[in-house]
């Protein structure tokens, strides 16, 4: 009986981990992208908590960190880790502030092409606008067995390709918003970010994005 239970549990776990994705045809992909884009354009703000799990192949171990994210139209994004370490990435217009507690730096993205790219990709990934960012990614859309829409983004940019082989975004059908991001690396490591308690179009005080 115990053996049977174990086999059943293993099968259930396998089903969850290896969720089948079905590729959609070009017409369907265009429809899906248009729907997500429309939802992204209608979004003025977004806030949520997140859990980030970094799987390290080398150590066969996982590091989990948590934090909060705030986004507001007008190129404003606050991505803040609160546990097990504190780190804040704050984008406001053309300025980026990074604060690790030990080091705080402010960069003008206009003068730093790499940060300009990072800021653009972070912002577009959160909103889902990256599906139309044909300069940075080639996109393939899927539907998952659980009903989510899934976008596989293959980086086209050389710098991005050196970091990630694939970025996978899961869209919640109800909200038409990203609720899961997977970053797959060449080394076999991957990072899974789950966005939780997502609140859309609620007032966020401008002070959240203030860079001194």
């Amino acid at each position: 009986m115990k053996k049977l239970l174990f086999i059943l549990l293993a099968l259930v776990s396998l089903t969850v981990r290896a969720e089948k994705l079905t590729a959609v045809d070009a017409d369907r992909q265009n429809q899906m992208v248009a729907t997500i884009n429309k939802a992204a354009s209608a979004m003025t703000s977004m806030q949520c908590g997140f859990t980030q799990a970094k799987q390290l192949k080398m150590l066969n171990d996982k590091m989990t960190s948590t934090g909060t994210m705030h986004y507001k139209q007008g190129n404003r994004l606050r991505w803040q880790y609160t546990s097990p370490y504190t780190y804040t990435f704050l984008l406001n217009g053309t300025k980026v502030m990074m604060d690790s507690g030990k080091k705080r730096s402010v960069i003008d993205v206009k003068t730093n092409k790499m940060f300009q790219e990072i800021a653009r990709i972070m912002m577009n990934s959160v909103t889902g606008k990256c599906l139309t960012d044909t300069k940075s990614f080639s996109v393939k859309m899927y539907t998952s067995a659980s009903g989510a829409w899934v976008a596989d983004l293959t980086p086209l940019n050389k710098q991005m390709r050196q970091m990630f082989t694939k970025v996978r975004l899961y869209f919640n059908l109800k909200t038409q918003m990203v609720d899961r991001v997977e970053l797959h690396e060449k080394s076999g490591d991957n990072t899974v970010i789950l966005l939780q308690n997502i609140k859309k179009n609620q007032t966020i005080n401008d002070s959240v994005f203030k860079i001194d």
Binding site: T86, E182, D189
Partner: protein
């Protein structure tokens, strides 16, 4: 005298066997400062490790052989993948992981203060600081967030 010999044999950067140790890292080269997270595990005479930034983006992996005092870096992020950076970082990590309490070196200074280990490469003016994370870290194989493939 025996007690002194025991202390002499202690590693300056002890790592418990077969468990993952996570440290917050700051590297100061004088011109630039980098911060990130280092995860390490001692396996016999080897230490396996990964250095990532706070977003989880990898800087490099390493394997240290503590008996030979050698460190090999791989999966290095492109902007760090220069021979002189590889050579310096590998040598500095090798010293950190093999130094014993009481060791003296003309090239390095190593100190431990409030749980933070600071290694200074005196020749290249590079400071490495490894300090405990602010909170306790979940370094177990957490299964609450399934990874879908």
């Amino acid at each position: 005298m025996l007690a002194a010999m025991t202390v002499r044999a202690q590693s300056a950067f002890p790592l418990p066997a077969d468990s993952v140790v996570i440290r917050s890292v700051r590297i100061d080269t004088g011109k630039a400062q980098l911060t990130g997270i280092c995860m390490m595990r001692a396996e016999g005479d080897s230490v396996l490790g990964s250095m990532v930034n706070e977003f989880g983006i990898k800087a490099f992996d390493f394997i240290a052989d503590r008996t030979k005092g050698k460190v090999r870096l791989f999966n290095i992020v492109s902007f760090l993948d220069k021979w002189y950076i590889r050579r310096t970082v590998a040598a500095d990590l090798a010293y950190l992981l093999t130094a014993r309490i009481g060791d003296e070196s003309k090239k390095y200074s190593l100190s431990v203060d409030a749980g933070a280990t600071t290694l200074k490469n005196l020749k290249r003016h590079i400071t490495y600081e490894f300090s405990p994370l602010r909170n306790d870290c979940d370094d177990s194989n957490n299964t609450s967030n399934e990874i879908r493939e």
